[in-house]
Symmetry: D2
Subunit: 139 residues, 4 copies
Amino acid sequence: MPENKMNRDELQERLLQSPFHQWLALDVTEVNEEEIVIRVPWRSEFVVNVKVGYMHGGILATIIDVAGDYAVAAKLGRPFPTVDMRVDYHRAALEGDIFAHARIVKLGRLFAVAEASVLDADNNLLASGRGVYAVAAPK
Amino acid sequence: MPENKMNRDELQERLLQSPFHQWLALDVTEVNEEEIVIRVPWRSEFVVNVKVGYMHGGILATIIDVAGDYAVAAKLGRPFPTVDMRVDYHRAALEGDIFAHARIVKLGRLFAVAEASVLDADNNLLASGRGVYAVAAPK
Amino acid sequence: MPENKMNRDELQERLLQSPFHQWLALDVTEVNEEEIVIRVPWRSEFVVNVKVGYMHGGILATIIDVAGDYAVAAKLGRPFPTVDMRVDYHRAALEGDIFAHARIVKLGRLFAVAEASVLDADNNLLASGRGVYAVAAPK
Amino acid sequence: MPENKMNRDELQERLLQSPFHQWLALDVTEVNEEEIVIRVPWRSEFVVNVKVGYMHGGILATIIDVAGDYAVAAKLGRPFPTVDMRVDYHRAALEGDIFAHARIVKLGRLFAVAEASVLDADNNLLASGRGVYAVAAPK
């Protein structure tokens, strides 16, 4: 695996060029040679079930896709288009910040595979999954 | 396959109980015994890439999950928790409304599988995928 | 979608170049511009559960991968490496031939997505799924 | 996570009740509280491409499904039906034994999620993926 080409501040700046990432207020809380961690602060708009108050699965899917993409971006210098994505839901995400931990499974010539786990502040596993990114795609 | 238990207005009302669905302004535009169609009107917050202006994959993943879940809800009377979800991305979604067409692949005793395709107003295929829903889960 | 480049006999000949396909005795029973159908005759070695006598999920996964790949081969003139694959299992496959029906979902420049359904001789849906194929890969 | 209910010999005996597992000559080489490792010895029938001589992706998919299922079996005392399965292919598997390393991601009340990586004898990553197992299913 090559060394990182982007540091935390560069990844954060690139991340927030996206209006959707701004709306989600995404925050790169850590990046090292193995892993990137992105925090998503709670928003009341995230709720799917008002009685129990838990977060919509679409937010969890989004952050798995983004964290995987930025695990690749850290190594290759920019994010890449997602080819496909899969999410397993493990536990209802109640009110509170969530943290997506992502790492690269395989960095290929045409495709990269990255996986991410989403935890709450108590380290409960909420969801996990993978994305495939087209790293040969032109800018 | 059983007959539908919820009509368009009932599905729409249930759908909009979710704050995230309200933010997305989801609209059930059609439901019949085979298919449900949900429209997502464009929002500028959806953009991931400001230069090209295309929609974030997380929005496409969200609407595939929701449309699959409501294909099941039409038959069974309510939505169910998503066990897992997969999305294939086919084409960048530029500014404009999108339409998710979903149908049930298999309605089992413990879980249901539904698939959805997301089209733009010109019927270009933007993304497609599947969700598995835990239909034996308690309310 | 382009017109087919390979007919039934050409696909069958190419298919059986693989020793594993020979062991499975795969048979292209139909190919048209929309769909390819591949038959897998029953073998007693396929069984996973000797009491009930149903087929191993790995055989169902294999035939979904192969059928998707050959749906692409029909259009592009040869099979391509699988990037990833997903299978949903719907019903135990008891003794008897099975038939995988595959079609292309999206034929892109870098990759193709194909989906397949596996039916028994009574048209019961046993499994279904998708593969992504790297159509830009060198021969 | 509960303690294992089956040891190596019990898992091996259960595994080989399946004729397909016998044909594959599957061998549980290690099991501990975190992980199970299953070896698949090379067979010439596995080949998909006779020129290069690499293994069919269906064999890799099969062993990911089996290893995930037996990671669950180690904890719960028996294997369970697979709900769905996903495989990412990372590298062509040339002649030689392969080793699937599997662990449980989440052991739920209705479903368990397990992941597996398949390595060759030189620890090259060939494929990896996940299965969902219906742990509430009756025997």
